[in-house]
C-alpha cells in the first residue's frame, strides 16, 4: 500500500469548517490506519511435528532485497513462531532444527495484516522401529536396516550382553524395552539400547567337599575338578 501525499490545510479562527475539509481529515486518518496495518504484517508459523519441541526450532523469513528476520519462538504455552513487522513482498520462510531437514515455505505479504502457515520438518535421523517382542537377532537386523546402531544390550537383571556377539540364548530372547521409544528419531551419537528377556542362567551350586587329610596338591586338584579355586594355604608346623 502506498501512502498518498498529505496536504496540511490549516483553518484560521472564525473560518468555517466545511464538510469537504472534515472528510479530507477522516480520509487521511483512515489512510494512515490502513498504512500502519499494511506495514506491520505478522506471520504466525506453526510447527506440526508431534515429536519435536517447537522451542528448539529456528524460523526465519528472508527475501532477496532485505536482511532475514528471525521469528520469536513459542513462549508461555503458545505453539507459534511469530514473524513481526514484515514489509510487503515475497518471503521464504525457513524452519530448521537439529536432527531435522530444513523446511521452507513461500509467503507473500500483501493486504492481510496477519496470516498463519503450518510447516513440518522431515527428520534427518532414523526413526526407531517398534521392536517389542522381537527376538534380539531379528531386532538387530531391523535396527540395522533402519540405519540404527544398537550399542547396548542388557538382560532384565542389568547384565551387559555384547551386541556384536550376544550368543545363541540371547539372540533368541525377545526385546522387552528399547530406548528410544518407537517412532522417535535416533541420535546417531547415542544409538539404541535394548533390554531383552534373557532368563538368568541358574548356576549349579556345588557342594563343598571335605578336604580334611588331603595334601595341598590333592586339595587343589579336588577343588579344580569341581570348578572351585584354592585360595590361601596356611601351613602350620605343629599344634599348640
Amino acid at each position: 500500500m502506498e501512502l498518498k501525499p498529505f496536504v496540511a490545510k490549516l483553518v484560521n479562527p472564525g473560518e468555517p469548517l466545511t464538510a469537504q475539509a472534515w472528510n479530507d481529515l477522516v480520509t487521511a486518518i483512515d489512510d494512515t490506519h490502513k498504512f500502519l496495518l499494511a506495514t506491520t504484517h505478522v506471520v504466525r508459523v506453526r510447527i506440526t511435528n508431534p515429536d519435536l519441541d517447537a522451542r528448539t526450532v529456528r524460523v526465519t523469513a528472508s527475501r532477496t532485497d532485505g536482511p532475514p528476520v528471525e521469528a520469536v519462538r513459542p513462549i508461555a504455552g503458545d505453539t507459534h513462531h511469530v514473524l513481526a513487522e514484515l514489509e510487503v513482498g515475497a518471503y521464504t520462510i525457513r524452519a530448521e532444527a537439529p536432527g531435522f531437514t530444513d523446511a521452507t515455505a513461500a509467503v507473500t505479504i500483501g493486504e492481510l495484516a496477519e496470516q498463519e502457515i503450518t510447516m513440518q520438518l522431515a527428520s534427518a535421523r532414523p526413526i526407531m522401529p517398534n521392536l517389542f517382542g522381537t527376538p534380539l537377532a531379528a531386532a538387530m537386523t531391523q535396527a540395522a536396516q533402519a540405519g540404527i546402531v544398537v550399542n547396548r544390550v542388557l538382560d532384565f537383571l542389568g547384565t551387559e550382553i555384547p551386541p556384536a556377539a550376544p550368543g545363541s540364548r540371547a539372540a533368541e530372547s525377545v526385546v522387552l524395552v528399547h530406548q528410544p521409544a518407537p517412532g522417535t528419531p535416533v541420535d546417531p551419537s547415542l544409538g539404541a539400547q535394548l533390554v531383552i528377556a534373557l532368563p538368568p542362567e541358574i548356576e549349579q551350586a556345588i557342594e563343598m567337599p571335605s578336604l580334611v587329610g588331603l595334601t595341598e596338591s590333592e586339595a587343589r586338584r579336588t577343588l579344580e575338578q569341581l570348578g572351585l579355586v584354592l585360595g590361601r594355604v596356611k601351613l602350620v608346623n605343629s599344634t599348640p
Binding site: V212, V229, V236, T239
Partner: protein, 171 residues
Amino acid sequence: MSNPIITKLGSQIAVDVGDKPVRTTVLRDGREVKAPVLDTGRVVEFIDKLPPVNRFSIPRVLSQGIPAGVKVARGTVVDITCVPATSIKVSLLETSHVALRTRTVADVANVINDDLAGVLAAHESSSQLTDAEHNQVQTAIGQLDITIDNTQADRSFETAFQTLRDVQVFR
C-alpha cells in the same frame, strides 16, 4: 634369538632353538623373580645327607575356609590350613577310641598297611567284617597296644575300627 638349527642324526632330528638358556618365570606375590642358579654338585651332596621325607610329615588339610556340605557357586575360592599328620591329635576326631586320643593320626595311620586299608575302605561298620578281616583289624589294634572293652562305647572294637577308618586318609 638366532634361527633354529635342525640336524638329522640317523632317525632322530635335533632342533637347537637358541644359544640362550631357558629362563623359568617365577612369580612371588605377583612379581616376577629370578630363579636362582644352584651348584649342582653341592646340591647333590646336600640331598644325600638328608633323611627321606616321611609321608606323614607332609602337611595335610586340617581346616577349610568353607565347611564341607555348604553349597557354593562355581569359582568360589577356598582357603585351607595344613598341618603335618605327625602334629594332628586323634582327639580332634569327633569320635575316637579313648586310648588313641593322645596319639597323633600319623601314629595310628602308621599301622594301616595296604591290605588293612582295603578292608577299612570296603566296610562302613565292623559288623560287616568277615572273620579274617576282623583278625586283620584286631592285629592293627594289637600293634597300637590298646584295650578293647565292648561294654563301653568309647572303648569298643567298633569305635577303634571307626578311628582307623577316620585316620586312613592321613596315610
